[in-house]
Symmetry: D2
Subunit: 363 residues, 4 copies
């Protein structure tokens, strides 16, 4: 099931950019969770086009409808389905895409794989697919909050070569949402926004890095071998469009330390086992250790640019292509809620697994 | 099934460092593949302790036995099971581990998760678990070679701050195996080895980066959404002990480029669609594009060091711990065949999926 | 994923009887299959309420909409989603069901499991859930027909104690559809219809047996151990509402034969291996042998009857209940297309598995 | 993973009749379960050859070894692996099977599927594969007993046309084990044994029916749609060699009743919801209702008989075959512990699922 994610809290997304709708089925959702359509919509609005002047001005209200699994304001434990109708379709804007493969997009690879592709707006490879993930993630985040006091915060730490200074405090949601770039450091945010506007005016695009932190995760979530927490988080992030890298804790920089510098000493604090440093990023041996989970995700510059580019067409001839229309010069601001959503999906799933294996039977 | 990997070519590993054995079941292996126990052993010898003077001198022959699934030198399509008996067990060397949690190891998190742990040699969290992966990967690599001409080559590109210069050619197996560090650039390899020996003499450890390249992969392997090829490769790598990061193609460095610099232009060459650059790392939209697949994996310094470290014990008291015995000062040389094995497992699985969905029915 | 079926051709259904909609996501559908919404509708019309005078007269047009995965009349290989809006909702007819558990329905068990239930029309336990299965099964049947010449035919062979005489020929679709009871033997069909009407006039209900035959299945579909073809067919049938039994080939009657009577002798016929009898029902060792697949499914009498029945309410008090409204006095006529749909889902899935493991690599 | 069963308590079996060993990996086993190798062996001894004078006299001690997942007498939550070496191998007894397909065996279908087969003793299709199931089932039964007071009892109710009278009481283990046929009704057992001996003396074989009852199952186990408890039980049973049918509760006989006769009225008894009859067999809408679970499994007569039979060979020529050697004239006595094992695997799995979804989060 390549379009499903999660073993126990399973989300299955459907839909193409210019098809009838995009949506998601959440299977395995715990019953009796109070839930309103507004809670879902709030998260969708954070990834919506047109929300600020540094994202695509496409007009998509992205109004979500709950199709099943909710009864008198509570989840029933049966599949919870949510759908957004696609509205702003301008198929004529995509006529060229039928013929030409956009560089560093999925046009060519989809054609190679399936022998057919819905070229309109990228079809299934469009980031509109992530609407379903964000909707499902909103539920997962609520579960984690209500049941475990777990809080997830993603934010932009780098745009091109503009980096945020080291953050010590866990940023608040308000700090993140204070600027359209979703960087909690105001001065850096301003520079990032300026850079994005400058690059956009050249018909070009930029990438960057999103960091995500999670606090309140109890020790014991994750699995020993293949389904390590960092492996599942890494897969979740690398399944997002435009991602090229993932690192947890010390990450690539940690490869330059010695073991004596990198190890996180254990100490007792308030009767609990904790560590004095967190190079591990909250995960040891694939399992959470109770410290803050910290990871970073690399996003490449948006592939769609307005400058002419060399490419080939479906008939195997060299040609040239220049995108028109309304595009994100930088995907990161809208990717922040998506990173949070995927993180929540991973954590709820592992919580349920932990409960199933280690919480069920007491001998 | 947290101890299984792969949807169609599924490997399930078992075993603890000091239990009776470690092993693996390969379910879904294509039938009629010629296979000998020696082919498996060859790969296991590459990850074996005691193979050189920069790895642990532990004595483990790691002789593999094939328990099922092979008949008259060919696979039968039924589960192929391989087992290695654990030999060099010195439980007395691990008495302290029963009481104290080793920093940045899995001792504490396993205890937190399961409420019990086999402390001897790290139990299930020991890298001996990867024996099963390497054995299964040997089969996967043979399949890819025979059926698709696909070749996988991993090698060390960085130890602490010592980096290999940019490699243009695809390194040969011989070049990689020429030095015990498995870095195909001889001068750099010498410096790396010297560094490892120096650090070991201090009772310390180092980490680094392994790069993996794959050539011969046809366009079309991978899946659009959650099971993107890079997502599955990332998960595979992050499921290995001591890994903290994964990047494909341009990776984290690519976040500093503009879209106009990062996009890979398509051109026709010899009648085939190809790209003039490979920032994508061989994958676009989650699906291979026929270019070389290139990714890198960050390994932290070995957690086991001989210097005294602050930690806590199972009774919740602060204490100190100093490892004794025989350990790898650097895991990378022995991790090279493991990275290749996991890469092969991912690729065979996606090949089979591609065949199932897109190769079966022609309308 | 309790609401998903199939490993490679995976269907996930959603929806409650009186929620916004019922639907299905088909993940893994082969690309390039020509498909029209009418082909789906045709099958849905066979399970629709109100289609004859022996089924419920509820008014549901059950018009299907394709939401994704179809482009210019062909499948794209991405999730194919189909939805039917629920129309004929009379929640007031179900007020009593909020309070009282209907005997031999799922009301009590859903409440026990989830601690909440959508009581309206049975919610998720309603047979409306099978709409998604029939829609997905229509696609599976088309695939089998186009790619393999495989033909599936289910039909009613028993209503209460009225049994069809032994059928030697494979019934045609026309013969099955000739009567509203979907029994291809006209005289028996007439008696069955008469019986259903008689029982309905007493406010009672009846059950019976559906037989399903499949011809054109090549030898080699199925799996050796847990996923035997008969095991997957059995699971598929027993996952249908109101089913209480499944048997393949000789079934329960075969337990009275000796081995010398039961074994199917192999003979060569037209250069092909075949059997002179078919007690095996087309499956040996879990794998198809090329003979006709023959199995039977037992359906209990409809639980909803108009006579007063003893039961308990949600407050734990003994009480009485009498259904009102429009119900099927016998589910079998409408279950015929559902049995065919589930059979097709199993066979397509195994075809794809077979292709993945045994059709991919040739050594 | 065709050789795996169970979503959360996952067993993967390996091995061929005449390969090095048969075995099983149990993944997902709850930690801290006290377990000894003797407890496993006890169950294996119940399915062992040579245990009585009505089963095959083959000499197989079937001594089990635990290879992983057990530490100081308790499960660790990591994969628990168990293996039995194959001992009594007489490959020369099987030379004819290399050339000729045994009627109603898996020889031909394995060859058709895989293009290769280990013909020795049936290879993977041998009932020796069930050793792994019984070993895993012993653990599952202990879990159910310790944690939930759940008791599973299978027994033979029919051999050919000899049927046990209706049993009202839940048979004790001692009553079942009192006779080698494992029928708790002594007089019927004697007749069955006599029949088996008579048939064996003719070189022939017989089949029959095993009933299984489970008491102590709480209401709420199972899933609404595809993974109904009866569907998973049905799949489990139909995955056993020689099974041709499965029915739960009223089964096929229930198709002759009217709804008013078949429905199980609810009543309050001792403050609990219960039913006055149990045509449902303990399952309603796919979910347990707290009543005894009752189902029956049809086993065909053993395919291996000593009389000459018509068949074809691997070269496509008509020929004749007569089995030699030591075979079970009836598989049912040895199948009783296997039916119990599979039942336990299904129930533990659903218990864990229930805990994960509905026991984890309380809102």
């Amino acid at each position: 099931m390549p379009n499903s994610f999660g073993k126990l809290f399973t989300v299955t997304t459907w839909g193409e950019s210019h098809g009838a709708s995009v949506g998601v089925v959440v299977d395995g959702c715990p019953p009796n969770l109070p839930l309103s359509v507004e809670e879902i919509q709030t998260e969708l609005d954070r990834r919506r086009p047109g929300q600020s002047d540094i994202v695509t001005p496409r007009k998509e209200e992205d109004r979500v409808e709950i199709l099943s699994g909710l009864f008198e304001g509570k989840t029933t434990g049966t599949p919870l389905t949510m759908m957004v109708r696609n509205a702003d379709q301008r198929p004529e804007a995509y006529a060229e895409m039928r013929e030409k493969f956009r560089p560093s997009h999925a046009d060519y690879t989809y054609q190679a794989k399936f022998g057919i592709r819905d070229h309109r707006g990228g079809g299934r490879s469009s980031a509109r697919e992530t609407i379903g993930r964000v909707a499902a993630g909103a539920i997962a985040q609520k579960i984690l909050r209500l049941a475990g006091g777990i809080e997830i915060r993603a934010f932009v730490t780098q745009i091109q070569d503009i980096c945020v200074p080291a953050l010590t405090a866990f940023p608040s949601r308000e700090e993140v949402e204070a600027t359209p770039i979703r960087c909690p450091h105001a001065a850096t945010a301003a520079a990032m926004i300026e850079r994005i506007k400058a690059v956009r005016s050249q018909g070009d695009s930029v990438g960057g890095v999103i960091e995500c932190r999670v606090r309140g995760v109890p020790a014991g979530l994750g699995e020993p071998v293949f389904d390590r927490l960092e492996a599942d988080l890494g897969k979740a992030m690398l399944s997002l469009p435009a991602t090229k890298g993932f690192e947890i804790g010390s990450g690539f920089a940690g490869t330059r330390l010695k073991g004596s510098e990198h190890n996180d000493p254990f100490v007792m604090r308030d009767g609990r086992v904790t560590t004095t440093t967190n190079h591990s990023g909250g995960v040891q041996g694939g399992i959470s250790n109770g410290a803050e989970i910290v990871f970073r995700v690399a996003f490449k510059p948006t592939a769609t640019i307005l400058q002419p580019q060399q490419t080939v067409d479906v008939h195997g001839a060299d040609t040239e292509l220049a995108a028109r229309g309304r595009h994100d010069p930088c995907v990161l601001p809208r990717a922040v809620p998506i990173v949070e959503a995927m993180t929540a999906l991973v954590l709820v799933d592992h919580w349920m697994r932990q409960s199933a294996q280690c919480g069920t039977f007491k001998f």
